[in-house]
Symmetry: C2
Subunit: 350 residues, 2 copies
Amino acid sequence: MKFNIAVLPGDGIGPEITQQSVKVLNAIADRFDHEFIFEEAAVGAAAIDQVGDPLPESTLNLCKRSHAVLFGAIGDPKYDNDPSAKVRPEQGLLRLRKELGLFANIRPVKAYEALIENSPLKPEIIQGVDMVIYRELTGGIYFGEKSTSADGKSASDLCFYTVEEIERIAHLAFKAAGERRKKLTLIDKANVLETSRLWRKTVKEISKSYPEVELDFLYVDNAAMQMILNPGQFDVILTENMFGDIISDEASVIGGSIGLLESASVGEKNALFEPIHGSYPQAAGQGIANPLASVLSAAMMLDYFGLIEEAKAVRLAVDVSIQLNVCTKDINRDNHYSTERVGDFLESVI
Amino acid sequence: MKFNIAVLPGDGIGPEITQQSVKVLNAIADRFDHEFIFEEAAVGAAAIDQVGDPLPESTLNLCKRSHAVLFGAIGDPKYDNDPSAKVRPEQGLLRLRKELGLFANIRPVKAYEALIENSPLKPEIIQGVDMVIYRELTGGIYFGEKSTSADGKSASDLCFYTVEEIERIAHLAFKAAGERRKKLTLIDKANVLETSRLWRKTVKEISKSYPEVELDFLYVDNAAMQMILNPGQFDVILTENMFGDIISDEASVIGGSIGLLESASVGEKNALFEPIHGSYPQAAGQGIANPLASVLSAAMMLDYFGLIEEAKAVRLAVDVSIQLNVCTKDINRDNHYSTERVGDFLESVI
Ligand SMILES: CC(C)[C@H](C(=O)O)[C@@H](O)C(=O)O
Ligand SMILES: CC(C)[C@H](C(=O)O)[C@@H](O)C(=O)O
């Protein structure tokens, strides 16, 4: 089969990790006789530097006409401490999500047996954790009206949700739960927020169509505690944009292997795959970045293409690299491999 | 000296723990020759049951004319799963905060050496943690305009902040940092929210008046990770209402002793002291609730009254009870004491 893949390496370590995924995808194409056509484009700080826009029209168009987007990472410290900067790298990512209609961000979080020692949590707490977070990605306070008063003395952000926005991601989450341990937890703040009450009501309604899935509710503050005290209780988590940002990042570190966590952002017509870690500018260009999260994101892309066996082959290669400790120094402290050598190893295993 | 203290036991375990604090405060009054006049009033689900209002006028008036409020806990499961309930216990607490102008919620989080084993985090991560969180409590998305469309198909919550609201709590936080390790971390989401950019700008401006305090910034998603990976990096945290709710609850469990965490909510004229744990209805009436967080909140009240020696005496008593393991079963698993016996012990030590 033939697929067009837009490659957006982005900032910091983005380019070097994405390169390994391309390598792995090429190996898959060879072995399974597919054709993957990669086309690269700039995004984020890299795009601001080149053309003054974190999401140039040409990049957006490329993404729209591709079957999927392989995304690196975004962000550069030179923009971080200037709250009044007119152009910021993050705007590129937010606009891309909105323009492509990527309403569901899907993040699996799994404790890798071989890496449990790396977790900040005690082993008995993290053992066996296996959850997936469905975060709404194109609504809520991220995209509601923002304003600053003329005198600069006040500001506001509107959190806004429609029933439709809630329904479409809720269906995805319930379906996923049905194929997993059949438990869905909605995280909200229904004791304070009107939007959360709309979420709770809508999700309750939808749950009637999925009688095999057990639904429960957790206030976001309590969820932030439960994620540390007993993460094993979670199967599928469903939540709105801002709570999803916070809770999924919290979840991402409990396994001790943020360099291994992949994500998919999907919509009606488009999909984007990216590691959940950031651009780590301090590590850029040193060959120490862990490419596995990007490679596992590429595996999610293969699943999305319907190439299930191919996705399995990628995951198997990653498992082997972890078993044999062919890993970058975040995982293999004593005798680490470079980003590129990990990529080469994966290629050779596939 | 003479002080009027409004006692609002509230729901669940609220009454039994608050009773121990009253006992301890009476012991302090005896020993240091003060007069504490306690007057009790209903709040929360208890008040709804009694008079149909989670914050009856008489309760509010009592709080207004008292020197301080000793608060138990709020919340009852019978209201939790009904998002459309017209009256909810939490409304009582939110209204009380607003009416009393309690704009700063102050939560110290400390790792107790004797309890490090209880932490879900590895000992080396939690050891030595000692931070205090300043959460803005009467603004932001909690109190901005809320609405649901007439057809029920959409809802919104407005997050709104003024420079003044940010300044007054920022000054408190900088002063606290100046008396501690001189580091202040602002937690926000300035890469997405207009209100966060206002926070960042305002706090930067104020920091010029506190040159001895080092100021840094953390996005809330990153903060949720750092709280687990390296909580020792924090000294004073400053943040807005919703982020404070989430991050402070996350912080509250890392020490493994949520039953020990106290809080103060202060304004220009009033102050309220409460344990940060909830009403734990499942434990109510069994004599197993840990009264120490409430008792330590009473110590914060004494500090607020300017009774520094008295506050120290309370904290010393608590330390002794922990050292000797005269503790409820959340801490002393094998040979635990009842809520009341812990209170009696503290009284006898003072
Ligand atoms: C970069 C930032 C705007 C983004 C977000 O908040 O959504 C990031 O934190 C993420 O989670 O992908
Ligand atoms: C009960 C609830 C409204 C409250 C809040 O969100 O502020 C509680 O979680 C707290 O932190 O005191």
